[in-house]
């Protein structure tokens, strides 16, 4: 059995695993639940969207009369930046794979940005989602334009985006690994050398 080969595959599997890590926080916090026209719309966002963090927005569209989920609607999300900033798609080089990064203020930027939402981007396939990263903190406004056959209705709500925690804090668990493992190693060495541990080891063996 080629178990060694399997173990050697682990780094590649880790790479694969990391590549899966798209932020899809659909079904987080309900920002809006409103019935208008023929639709009953619920807008979700990540629980606490932060600047440059995953702030995915997802929308559930239901029939107002029966409550059935509508799966063939067209949903567009229009983001209005906080007063001091403008929204613009920023070069995606540093963003999460496929995520729209709504950027900081620029002289020539637009006042708002329209992003389409798709069911394939959501974990819960009844929802329409758009992976978003807010480039700036503040109170963003989002309008969801829902179109289905001949009906088109606009829904609006606010999204408070907090300041980004420092990247160092985000990496803290990984930075804590070396001291933790060094401490374990020291303990390991102590156990291997300590007379009491040796004595008890001998006792255990008997």
């Amino acid at each position: 059995m080629k178990c060694d080969a399997l173990v050697r595959l682990l780094p590649w599997l880790l790479m694969f695993g990391l590549s899966l890590s798209n932020a899809r926080a659909d079904g987080g916090v309900i920002r809006l639940r409103e019935a208008k026209g023929p639709f009953l719309v619920t807008i979700f966002t990540a629980a606490e969207p932060v600047q440059d963090g995953p702030g995915d927005v997802s929308v559930l569209v239901q029939r107002r009369d029966s409550g059935d989920a509508i799966l063939d609607a067209t949903v567009e999300l229009v983001f209005n930046a906080p007063a001091v900033s403008t929204a613009e798609p920023v070069e995606q080089l540093c963003g999460a794979s496929g995520a729209w990064l709504l950027g900081r203020s620029s002289k020539s930027g637009q006042a708002q940005l329209t992003v389409p939402a798709f069911r394939r981007l959501a974990s819960n396939k009844l929802l329409y989602a758009a992976p978003i990263r807010f480039g700036t903190a503040g109170d963003w406004e989002v309008e969801a334009l829902v179109k289905h056959r001949n009906d088109a209705v606009k829904f609006a709500c606010g999204i408070p985006v907090g300041s980004q925690p420092r990247r160092l804090i985000l990496l803290a668990p990984y930075l804590a690994l070396p001291p933790l493992l060094v401490a374990l190693f020291v303990l390991n060495q102590w156990l291997r050398r300590h007379p009491l541990a040796k004595w008890s080891t001998g006792q255990q063996a008997q």
Partner: protein
């Protein structure tokens, strides 16, 4: 199937950490189960493997299936998820008797020396025994179950994904504990008699019934988020809650009652007898210190090391000379394409093969290949083709000058290359890259046409020196399979060659070859060996640095200051090269040049590089060697300490190089095909592609984590090597620590510098123009 049903069933979510954890656990268990199954098939039958796999599958189903996607909208879905986490996955996992298989799944030495001492630590054993006492297990389960079903706690878990994960972890952990006294996984010894288990389960069922009755019969919605959530499938929040209560009540009770009945029947049956599990000697990991009379632990099973040449298809391909020729020909074609495009293509790095292939792909893939396997680039190196040409021309008569038979020349060239790369911005100048490769070919041909052996690879090639150092932490090594066979060998074909095959041109005599230094993985020795006694064998990465035997063609590392200098240049260049592409360092250079009234950054960069690549490593290494020698009073000379300990920093340098190059690969991973199409379109071979915005392979967050993990691994391996080398010189812990401390200080400082560098905004070298491709 209706579209809604389809949508529900396709609502799977893949969490990287969970996916990785489940997969790693499975592989580890599988590996260990295979070993213990062969030793003790009756105790570890196949059904245990299935039980453990089923437990992992239940765990995966609970966390990644549509149950999770709908758990925020439907309490009944959430309840099924909890049932899987608490009542299905834990007993199945424990039925797999996972302790021994997981332990045996670990690398043998790590399990014995790393985990073993903890397993025999009396305090830990006592704590574990108290924790797995039935009363503790029952209480933990009861407290966790009740606490998380209190509305404020449940609401918190629904609002916050982080707390939701904590809730799940609590449920899983508490349930593993709860089921422990019931399943009694081997080699656990039961603390209570068997008759108590049904009572234990019935008491748990009583608690479960109480909670589920509250949910089922409550006339108001207990958890507020479900009251606000959109209603699906025609349910109301209250009916959904009742349904969840029934699920918790009926299947939840059955999970307790059925095992209780089975165990009661087993106890009452005539054949019952209390069997205390005995641990077979062959399954034990031996205690830390073995007495004379104790038998040594046997590890006959799985003791043979992995040999890449034994792998079907791969092995024969690598052995065949034509296989190597094929690889070289492929790289030669790529090199020629890079030269042509570099010379005649557009001088925009991101739109030119000479900008993308070497600086985005090649260097990243080479380092990944070195850390994941071995020095396979040198094996496929196209420059070596010219050595054969020189041989055929019959010009190779001279020996390489004795004065240059060291690594000093290679170190100087490597430093020169790093300097040229920074100062002239090679990544952004395709034509310079093309000329660099042309000159490389010319120099390789000139040297190998005139001098015997592999003088260019061994003494000159800066890329080769880089690969040699990195390959010290490679997991594969070309080495002898059975040393006894070599002891009886009289012909030494691996070194001298024979009529059919060449021997090692780098003068590495295989029985005395230790580690990968100076090995180009050409496998000439493999082909030449008449006993088929050489393989590409798995080794512990970096461990070769600890030993200092006399090495073929190299001697002892403790006497090779040039190799130590090469290692230090390699390590410090890793940090300098990455630092120079960060915004703070770039602006510092500009500011300094401005203050000095310079029109160019070149002098500033040159001086900074001189400090980073030469002065800083030399000074730090000398000071550390002096400090460690003075503090520990060992008899070794400063030169020897410097030579030995400098090598131990290599893992950290390799980790930094890997993290840095992974960044470039991640950012520009999809630029190659576009650039290739642009190039092909200029030659009218393909149509021109549309302009595309390159998107990274993995997100910035995941990349930062990967880079930090690489640095963590590099630091830990470096510290371990420093410690092991220190123990060689000073067996007493106190003296060893004094030897260790200065070098550990350098490693820690470099680690902090690496973390800082990776946290800085990076320049997109060579990729900034990717958005506006013509």
């Amino acid at each position: 199937m209706s579209p809604t049903c389809q949508a529900v069933l396709s609502s799977w979510s893949l969490d990287a950490k969970i996916a990785w954890g489940v997969l790693a656990s499975f592989l580890l268990y599988l590996r260990g189960w295979w070993v213990v199954h062969r030793t003790s098939p009756r105790r570890f039958p196949t059904w245990r493997l299935w039980a453990f796999t089923g437990g992992l599958a239940a765990l995966w189903l609970a966390i990644a299936s549509p149950l999770d996607a709908f758990s925020g909208l439907l309490l009944s879905a959430h309840m099924v998820q909890h049932l899987l986490l608490m009542s299905v996955a834990p007993p199945l996992l424990l039925l797999g008797a996972p302790l021994l298989p997981l332990l045996r799944g670990l690398p043998r030495k790590f399990a014995r020396d790393g985990v073993g001492p903890f397993l025999v630590w009396p305090e830990l054993r006592r704590g574990a025994r108290q924790l797995t006492h039935p009363v503790s297990c029952w209480m933990v389960m009861a407290i966790i179950l009740c606490a998380w079903h209190v509305p404020p706690a449940f609401d918190l878990a629904l609002r916050s994904p982080g707390w939701h994960k904590v809730e799940h972890a609590c449920f899983l952990g508490a349930s593993l504990l709860f089921w422990w006294p019931v399943v009694r996984p081997f080699p656990n010894r039961p603390q209570w008699p068997l008759w108590s288990v049904p009572l234990y389960l019935l008491a748990a069922d009583l608690l479960n019934t109480t909670l589920s009755a509250i949910l089922t019969f409550s006339d108001r919605v207990l958890y507020q988020p479900y009251l606000q959530a959109p209603r699906l499938f025609g349910t109301t929040a209250l009916s959904d809650q009742s349904c969840a209560g029934v699920l918790m009540w009926v299947p939840g009770s059955l999970v307790f009652l059925v095992p209780a009945a089975l165990i009661a029947m087993q106890y009452l049956s005539a054949s019952h007898r209390l069997v205390r599990p005995q641990i077979p000697q062959t399954l034990r990991y031996g205690p830390v210190s073995q007495s004379k009379h104790q038998t040594k632990p046997r590890f006959a099973v799985g003791a043979r090391r992995f040999d890449l040449l034994s792998v079907p298809l791969v092995g024969p391909f690598l052995r065949a000379q034509s296989g190597r020729r094929l690889l070289q020909a492929m790289l030669l074609i790529i090199a020629l394409a890079v030269i042509v495009d570099g010379l005649f293509g557009p001088q925009v790095s991101s739109a030119n093969l000479a900008g993308v292939l070497p600086w985005t792909y090649w260097r990243a893939l080479v380092v990944i290949g070195l850390l994941a396997a071995g020095n396979f680039f040198c094996m496929a190196c196209p420059f070596m083709l010219f050595r054969d040409l020189g041989r055929r021309l019959g010009l190779r008569q001279r020996s390489w000058p004795r004065a240059l038979r060291s690594k000093w020349f290679g170190v100087a060239l490597l430093a020169l290359f790093f300097w040229g790369y920074e100062v002239f911005g090679l990544w952004d100048k395709p034509i310079w890259t093309a000329w660099l490769i042309i000159n490389y070919f010319l120099v390789a041909f000139t040297i190998d046409a005139l001098f015997r052996g592999a003088s260019f690879c061994k003494y000159v090639c800066p890329i080769g020196q880089f690969q040699f150092v990195t390959s010290l932490v490679s997991p594969l090594e070309v080495k002898v399979r059975e040393p006894g066979v070599c002891a009886s060998c009289k012909t030494h074909d691996c070194l001298r060659g024979n009529e059919g095959h060449r021997g090692c041109e780098l003068d590495l005599y295989l029985p005395r070859k230790f580690g990968n230094l100076d090995c180009t993985f050409c496998l000439d020795c493999v082909r030449a060996c008449p006993h088929d006694n050489i393989g590409v064998i798995a080794v512990a990465p970096g461990m070769d640095i600890v030993r200092d035997p006399p090495r073929a063609s190299l001697g002892r590392l403790s006497g090779r200051l040039d190799i130590a200098a090469l290692a230090m240049a390699f390590v410090f260049a890793a940090f300098a090269n990455a630092a120079f592409m960060t915004a703070p360092v770039a602006s510092f250079e500009d500011n300094l040049a401005g203050r000095l009234g310079l029109t160019s950054r070149l002098p500033v960069t040159s001086v900074l590089l001189l400090i980073a690549l030469v002065m800083a490593p030399a000074t730090l290494a000398a000071l550390s060697a002096y400090a460690s020698r003075a503090a520990s009073n060992v008899s070794a000379t400063m030169r020897e300490l410097l030579s030995r300990f400098s090598m131990s920093l290599v893992p950290l340098g390799a980790a930094m190089w890997a993290g840095h190059f992974l960044f470039h690969l991640d950012v520009g991973w999809d630029s190659g095909w576009t650039t290739l199409r642009h190039t092909a379109s200029r030659w009218h071979l393909l149509s021109s592609p549309n302009s595309v915005i390159p998107s990274p392979l993995i997100g910035a967050g995941a990349l930062s984590i990967l880079q930090t993990l690489l640095l963590d691994a590099g630091l830990l391996l470096t510290l371990y090597l420093v410690w092991r080398i220190a123990l060689v010189y000073a067996p007493r812990v106190r003296s060893a620590f004094r030897l260790f401390a200065p070098w550990a200080g350098i490693a820690t400082a470099l680690y902090i510098a690496g973390v800082w560098i990776f946290l800085q905004p990076m320049q997109m070298r060579g990729l900034s123009a990717a958005i506006s491709l013509p």
